[in-house]
Subunit: 419 residues, 2 copies
């Protein structure tokens, strides 16, 4: 059978990523990896989850923990989330919360909710590559979101019309973004809201890393700033996507969306049709664990990850050659490197697998237009401090070798051409 | 904000079902319900799951059980499933298996894989309403699948072209279908494969109830019959969708797809972009429980559900008036009633909530064209035998009352018109 005869057009946009294929090679034991954007499993509250699962599966309510449940999500968990949202400037009720199977599912659903083929999604340059992957299924075009840039909204709208659709939303991670680790300041958030009003579009605020601030003053979430302007969540255009993946457990796949009622109601219908509901037991256990230990656990994570970030920034200062720039994140899991122009992160990784055995994610895949190949993402979340020291030493050596190699290759290629 | 300005066209097809809204009323304690198509939670192997979860969250592998995992699914579980598939005539390997978050997610992904707006999906009349809901998001038209009908494939293809697309797949549940409980016999399955070859389309075999046969000889799955013709899974056009929901636990959301490699590979990419993976711990625990108790547990379910089916069929024979027809399922969870022409299942339910307090699902929502309102679905899976007896007694009384009420209403409406 020739499957091309029955595949939908959207499959043309869902291709295997070369980067992901390359990353499969990085599980080798002799590699020091800063590639995975994942929390350290040694820090998971496994015993608390075990106790919560056991309790949920004991007694008269045990059957309900393994039974179908409502698409909106487990009410006590939605209530706890609503309480947490209130603490960060977003007072809301359980009815404003939808449970999703991780924030990745929220991104898929939000693309499905808003994107017709040819519509425009505004994304940061770079953006979380998983968001681009989720949106791609709905065949958008991308335009660059730069809240502090001075490009007028009318130009963006005009380009979208020329592209055959309308701007539907701006997507960004405002706190400790994947991949840069950077944070959008308050004036940038306000400028983004102004742009969203001008274009009459939604804002998707991906808050996956928001709880992991290590220093500096917290900036209100975009949705909190919009709520302060409008006074009513039901009038807001910002859709907040949260996740337990980075703070409790990613493997249980529990995240949430907070938004105005028309969005929540449509997402509930979508979820009912797409997977009925997120697993019941996972929501019950997450509710139990969050209520028991959330604040203390997050405090422990902050201390641990902050030390790793410090170790990485310190080592980068010592080992990187001139011409290498890197971000200084106040939270999250990532440092973003910009290599000298002309160098390529993917080439560097291929070289590294042969010589220095240090792994990272080349930056190009985070750009909707595949530009900026001279970048790479480092994650400090899963590496101990001595491993970070050794890894940055190797990376510095690799980049210096590549700089001289690039020079020698250019020379010999020139030689080849004249011969 | 007017959300209509940013919603995708597909939302027009994702509407709240009146039936689902009505069913929310049926949780009242004084209602005897045959509405939910759900397994009896009293029969869940809760202790075995509790032990499996505890084991997975103890020791050095505990962190991995809460960590991200591969989109394909947990390898030992895929291996166990491949072994089970071999026992029903579908020898395959773990590489031919994708884990999904229940078979509902498989239906969503298969719609996403194949349907462009205006394409045709062939579905049975009636079909599982959740399949129609999943496919609707991809804006198909529907045509009637009747493997034993004598409508030529060329007519179906012509109608699809006239509808602005192509026939992409036939979807059906061949064993103990939701909602009818009926089974497609072997010659019907072979005829379906002939039609699929003629139209060059995929077949989606929804096998959610396949393990729950209470009597009669098992018929090979459609994929097994196609494999017998072709000798190689990679040449087959049938996509098999299985689920643990009806035999172990629905709340953990674990199902699977077996298909040719191009389908599995594309679905893996789709899953990676849509929710990364199904929850890790759920897959580990399901693998443990399936290996420990699957055959014994299914044998227990068969005995229990068979007795309830027998009780329902016996009561239906005694309490239904002439003119009411019902199916005699060899397995699954459902009996399908056809009321005398002119009666309406939804009206009957509304009446029942006032008087007899017995609940069921009106049949119209299972028909892609909203026809056949004089039908309803009864589920016997969650009701004890005395409750079934009482419920069928009330239902018979309700239908008889409706028959005489309908007559009297027609008369008084006629009276009203002449006045």
């Amino acid at each position: 059978m020739d499957w091309q005869n029955v595949l939908a057009a959207r499959n043309g946009r869902m291709k295997a990523s070369e980067i992901r294929e390359l990353l499969k090679l990085l599980d080798q034991p002799d590699i020091i990896s800063f590639a995975g954007g994942i929390p350290d499993p040694a820090l998971f509250p496994t015993e608390t989850f075990r106790d919560a699962m056991s309790a949920a599966l004991t007694g008269p309510a045990a059957g309900a923990a393994l039974q179908y449940s409502v698409s909106e999500g487990y009410l006590p968990l939605r209530e706890w989330i609503a309480g947490q949202m209130g603490q960060i400037g977003i007072p809301c009720s359980a009815d404003d919360v939808l449970i999703t199977s991780g924030s990745q599912q929220a991104l898929d659903y939000l693309g499905k909710l808003m994107l017709d083929p040819g519509d425009t999604a505004l994304v940061t340059w770079p953006a979380y590559m998983g968001a681009l992957g989720a949106f791609n299924a709905y065949e958008p075009r991308y335009d660059r979101l730069d809240p502090k840039g001075n490009r007028p909204g009318s130009d963006i709208a005009q380009a979208a019309r020329a592209g055959g659709g309308r701007v539907k939303f701006a997507y960004l991670s405002a706190d400790f973004a994947n991949p840069t680790g950077e944070t959008l300041d308050r004036s940038g958030r306000e400028a983004l809201l102004d742009l969203a009003e001008e274009l009459d579009i939604a804002v998707i605020e991906d808050a996956a890393y928001q709880a992991l601030r290590y220093d500096g003053a917290a900036i209100p979430p975009i949705l909190a700033l919009e709520l302060a302007r409008k006074g009513d969540l039901q009038q807001c255009r910002t859709i907040y996507s949260g996740s337990f993946s980075k703070v409790l457990s990613p493997g249980l796949r529990v995240g949430w969306v907070v938004a105005a009622r028309p969005v929540i109601q449509q997402l509930v219908l979508m979820k009912q049709a797409a997977d009925l509901h997120s697993p019941t037991l996972n929501q019950i256990a997450t509710n139990h664990v969050a209520r028991a230990i959330f604040d203390d656990h997050v405090a422990m994570l902050r201390t641990t990850y902050a030390a790793r970030r410090d170790a990485m920034l310190s080592a980068l200062r010592r080992y990187m050659s001139e011409g290498v720039r890197f971000t200084k994140p106040e939270g999250g899991m990532f440092v973003w490197l910009t290599l000298p122009t002309g160098m390529d992160g993917a080439d560097l990784l291929a070289q590294s697998l042969k010589t220095e055995k240090v792994a990272f994610v080349p930056g190009r895949a985070f750009f909707a237009d595949g530009s900026n190949g001279n970048t790479l993402r480092l994650s400090f979340s899963c590496a101990g401090e001595s491993m970070i020291e050794e890894g940055m030493k190797r990376l510095g050596r690799l980049i210096r070798a590549d700089q001289s190699y690039s020079t020698s290759v250019s020379v010999s290629e020139s030689d080849a051409m004249v011969q």
